[in-house]
């Protein structure tokens, strides 16, 4: 049976089609999920895509977090279903308290859009098994409110438990993708929950899956990783 990976569309989602395409290129069947529909249609994993759900009103992700589909996603995530939140999806996961911390306005106040170098720190989550710890990848990054913040105690806990999934690479030219693009604490680009099934990531792996449109194809690993994890489960 083909692995089914759901991609939620909220009003204002932008990257749902690209996420579906990445799922397909990884070899799984993408299933479109609608924000008002509680039913996850028997999917094995869920991607919350990037965009500006509900116009980012109130706070990014604050309104989507209470949508009907999220009730089921939160419930299933707690039972171990793999969930990947990219960009706005990461914001939704933090607002849902499936992940700690919050994403705030970039320190520069500018919207940053560029190809970004990352180091994969944890290659044992449901979404990063096809990478190796320490591997460097380049994927697009585009956000205005991507600055990950949490109190020092939470940050220490994340580090101690190996729950930082990816970090922005410091040093070097911004034009070459180096440096912290938004002031995220400890250069954090992505984190996971304690169980490793829920991952939030600010940069966009779904835009780096084909040579024609991406800077690399190094984002595909997130989608092939979860597929492998589900097939082997």
């Amino acid at each position: 049976m083909t692995t089914r990976i759901g991609v939620v569309t909220f009003p204002g989602s932008l990257d749902d089609r690209d996420a579906q395409r990445a799922v397909r290129l990884a070899g799984a069947e993408p299933v479109a999920l609608w924000h008002r529909d509680k039913d996850l249609h028997q999917v094995d994993a869920v991607v919350l895509p990037g965009g500006f759900s509900y116009g980012d009103y109130l706070r990014c992700g604050a309104i989507s977090r209470f949508s009907p589909v999220m009730e089921t996603v939160i419930e299933q995530a707690k039972l171990g279903m793999p969930v990947l939140g990219i960009c706005n999806g990461f914001q939704v996961l933090c607002e849902s308290h499936l992940l700690p911390g919050a994403l705030t306005r970039n320190d520069s106040l500018h919207f940053v859009c560029r190809d970004q170098k990352l180091r994969i720190e944890n290659a044992e989550t449901a979404w990063t098994g096809d990478y190796s710890a320490g591997q460097e990848i380049v994927v697009p990054l585009k956000n205005g409110e991507g600055r990950f913040v949490a109190d020092a105690h939470v940050l220490d806990e994340l580090e101690a438990e190996g729950r930082v999934v990816a970090r922005y690479l410091a040093g070097g030219n911004a034009a070459d993708g180096y440096g912290n693009p938004n002031g995220s604490y400890r250069d954090i680009a992505g984190i996971t929950n304690a169980a490793g099934n829920v991952v939030g990531l600010m940069p966009h792996p779904e835009h780096a899956v084909e040579p024609l449109t991406g800077p690399t194809t190094e984002g595909l690993g997130f989608f092939t990783s979860v597929l492998k994890q589900l097939v082997n489960a």
Partner: protein, 84 residues
């Protein structure tokens, strides 16, 4: 109708780049002597019924779960005096 005001502010330890940008612009416009600016949100809630303890408790709950993200923000709830 009674009005309840919820003010939401970033916690003091959270950087407020918007407030900083406003602060930097003030002296350029001739408004000097302002040491710090923090920017927040104000919600005005018009109640259908009376402002009693139960109503205020519900509003505090709404503020805590929805209007503010208590990971990064503090909030205050107050009843606004009716306009004379």
């Amino acid at each position: 109708m009674a009005r309840v005001v919820v003010d939401v502010m970033l916690k003091p330890e959270i950087l407020d780049p918007q407030g900083q940008a406003v602060q930097r612009a003030l002296p350029r416009l001739g408004f000097t002597g302002i040491a710090d600016v923090r920017q927040g949100k104000r919600f005005e809630l018009e109640l259908e019924g009376p402002v009693d303890d139960a109503a205020l408790a519900r509003i505090r709950e709404a503020a805590e779960t929805f209007l503010a993200n208590t990971v990064i923000e503090d909030f205050t709830v107050r009843v606004e005096e009716a306009a004379k």
